[in-house]
């Protein structure tokens, strides 16, 4: 069962899954067997707002580390997200077509974006933040945004 680091900033509660690694955009990567599942962090989904559409690159497509893998349209913004690893997309969450709001409802679970067969996970993993590192960055970013909003 996934455990979380949690913080409250202003009226918002943000969770960071301990069993994931994260890129600077808040895309998480979790090793499951010999494949890696990816999705968006709780902070990213809350900051972005309700998801209207999610377009993930299709199954069979190869992606490089830091190459665009998904575009999310929310009620606030359109955002492009980069892959946290290099590899081949072997599965795309079918919910992205039918009910992309699962990204908001369960960002670390049912709201996953894709499963990737990694080229070299051990190498890419070292370019990512572990949960405590991402938690610190995320918390600072959230506090700065709240402070800006209160100015």
């Amino acid at each position: 069962m996934t455990e979380y680091l949690e913080t409250t900033v202003d009226k918002f509660i943000f969770r960071v899954a301990k069993d994931c690694f994260y890129n600077s955009e808040g895309v998480w990567a979790r090793l499951e067997g010999d494949r890696v599942k990816i999705g968006l962090s709780d902070f990213v989904q809350q900051r972005s707002g309700d998801v209207a559409f999610a377009e993930v690159k299709p199954k069979g497509k190869s992606v490089n580390f830091d190459e665009e893998i998904a575009v999310i349209e929310t009620i606030k913004v359109d955002i492009s997200f980069s892959s946290p690893l290099a590899g081949t997309i072997v599965e795309v969450n079918p919910a992205m077509d039918e009910a992309p709001e699962v990204i908001n409802e369960d960002p670390y679970g049912e709201g996953w974006l894709a499963v990737i067969e990694p080229d070299d996970w051990e190498f890419d993993r070292q370019r990512l933040f572990d949960a405590p590192q991402y938690f610190s960055r995320m918390k600072q970013e959230a506090e700065e945004e709240v402070a800006e909003g209160n100015e």
Binding site: G49, D50, F53, I75, E101, N104
Partner: protein, 153 residues
């Protein structure tokens, strides 16, 4: 007799839009509500401001408890729907702008104080969907003509 039926046999459906300020989808919800109340179904509907329900305004609470409500929420927090229910009202149908937009992706709303053309069109589409619900509620509320005994001379 159903207390929701006025003397003119027209049931007044309450329309409660989102009150989110500074949000495009909130603006779409309010534009759709104005369209329904002022242009599409002016005789059958009236508007109740969410903020008045939050304040506990007696007249507004009475409206939502007396008549069925159609809520139009700007986001998944669904404040309008929750507030009508907390005020003792019955939500006959809750609309979410996001769901309507998903079915009309070309109508991407932009702007806050003033919507773009697509946003205005989306509000009109939403208003038509609300009107269909209003008509159904109105039909359901009409006194039914009894056909029993028609052939008994």
């Amino acid at each position: 007799m159903n207390k929701a039926i006025k003397s003119d046999n027209k049931q007044k459906v309450v329309i409660v839009p989102c009150s989110g300020i500074g949000k495009t989808y909130g603006t779409v919800s309010r534009e759709a509500a104005y369209e329904v109340v002022e242009n599409v179904r002016p005789g059958q509907t009236h508007l109740v401001a969410l903020s008045l329900l939050v304040l506990g305004d007696e007249k507004s609470r009475e409206s939502v408890s007396q008549y069925p409500s159609v809520t139009i929420d700007g986001c998944k927090l669904a404040c309008a729907t929750k507030m009508v229910e907390e005020s003792g009202g019955t939500v006959a149908k809750d609309f979410a702008v996001l769901d309507v937009y998903r079915n009309h992706r070309k109508l991407k709303p932009k702007g806050i104080a003033e919507l773009n053309e697509a946003g205005i069109k989306l509000a009109q589409v939403l208003a038509e969907e609300v009107a269909e619900v209003v008509d159904r509620l109105d039909f359901d509320a009409q006194p039914k003509q009894s056909t029993e005994g028609c052939n008994n001379g």
